[in-house]
Symmetry: D2
Subunit: 138 residues, 4 copies
């Protein structure tokens, strides 16, 4: 199972008055994880969009275990959870670099759609991308 | 079952290059729904925090049905899904005002904790708040 | 000089670990002020974009006087500072509703551009919009 | 004049429906530049806050030259512009890594304050930090 680690540093603006990272910002980190996941496969999500396939999120979920704090170094560990028909799902682990502690766990589900937002079977629509992604789940 | 509607207008900065609202921003709207829910009960979340009880999110979920767009007027319909021991959960419906269409559905789970982030039984810790919230789920 | 007041309520996610609103978020509020300014003229910015004219920001500035806090009700008082050729500038006052205290003051400068991001003289490109805006500065 | 380069990768959520980075997000990048600037001096801003000195922004400014786009690699070039009494100002250059093009230029002014938000003369309040910062402007 192919997994990619992206590294981020917590920004001040990502915290809230509880003194920890605002829960909604983890979804931006998942997106960073996903973007770097594609990049690590040699096929950026940017390129995928340029070729007319976009991946809107149809569902997102996060479980918060321990709070992330300002200036923490964080790994976003990303892998594909499901690849089937017009859908792809990613799962994420948010890990504090300093002590390897798991801070959060998440999931996003996406549809492959074209520019008119019609669902497309990625296997047919872009066989190269399908092959690259399919290899990740074996 | 007590339900509160908060109204927001989609901000330009909430959109992304897909031309629709970035999925992560729905969680901020849920927070607006929650804040206005407390406010509608005559006991603001601000006051709750000042009295030493905070409600960190332990889990969040969103299902995206149709995209929200810039300058849409949106209702965030909020109600309590669960109130038990040290936990409270809210569910949300994101509804486009113009045509009453459901755009998204979400849920957040929270712990009642004190300033040291220790879980507290709200019924014991703040009976008045318990009574107010408990009435909402009947 | 035509002025419009937009009202917002400070969101939890807009605060940072200083316990006040993160300085960068005032620019989102200015955008809200601007959007509501257009709306109050009966010609939304959304419509302007649909007609092919967009207003990217070329310069922005903010002076912070007193901090805004979670759940404060805030007025964003907006007016046009300059309208000339391919440029428009707005100035903003951020005012706490409760006691009418000025929290911040800001400015944004914009270019009128078409979809290819070429500057356009708004007076020629869209006379109706020019007339509406020009009336605001008299 | 001491200068530090921080590197960031543009996030999808930082774009807006114009297809470029939302103007307000450059201020978050300046904050990243500032945080990494302190870090490069061996004295993190996190530590400064822990020692009771915080640096709220009293003024911010940005001039936008060319738009940053999703997945661009960007340098935030940061240096101190002024250090005097209770004030410090930073200036920033936002540079696209790929072709070294200047995308934006910015400035933030800060007050040194204590936890009660009273201004403090940093030279007196924390001589070590003063020495480190003062060396940067020579």
């Amino acid at each position: 199972m192919y997994t990619n680690d992206a590294m981020i540093r917590v920004r001040y603006g990502e915290t809230d008055q509880m003194g920890v990272v605002y829960h909604g910002n983890y979804y931006t980190w998942f997106e960073v994880g996903r973007s770097e996941f594609f990049n690590s496969l040699g096929y950026t999500y940017k390129r995928l969009e340029q070729e007319g396939i976009i991946l809107p999120v149809t569902e997102s979920h996060c479980e918060y275990i321990k709070p992330a704090k300002y200036f923490d170094e964080i790994f976003i560990r990303t892998r594909i959870d499901l690849l089937k028909g017009v859908r792809i799902a990613f799962v994420y682990e948010v890990i504090r670099k300093e002590d390897d502690v798991l801070l959060a766990r998440g999931k996003t589900v996406h549809a492959f759609v074209n520019k008119e937002l019609k669902p497309v079977r990625i296997k047919k629509a872009n066989r190269k991308v399908w092959d690259i992604l399919d290899r990740c789940v074996r």
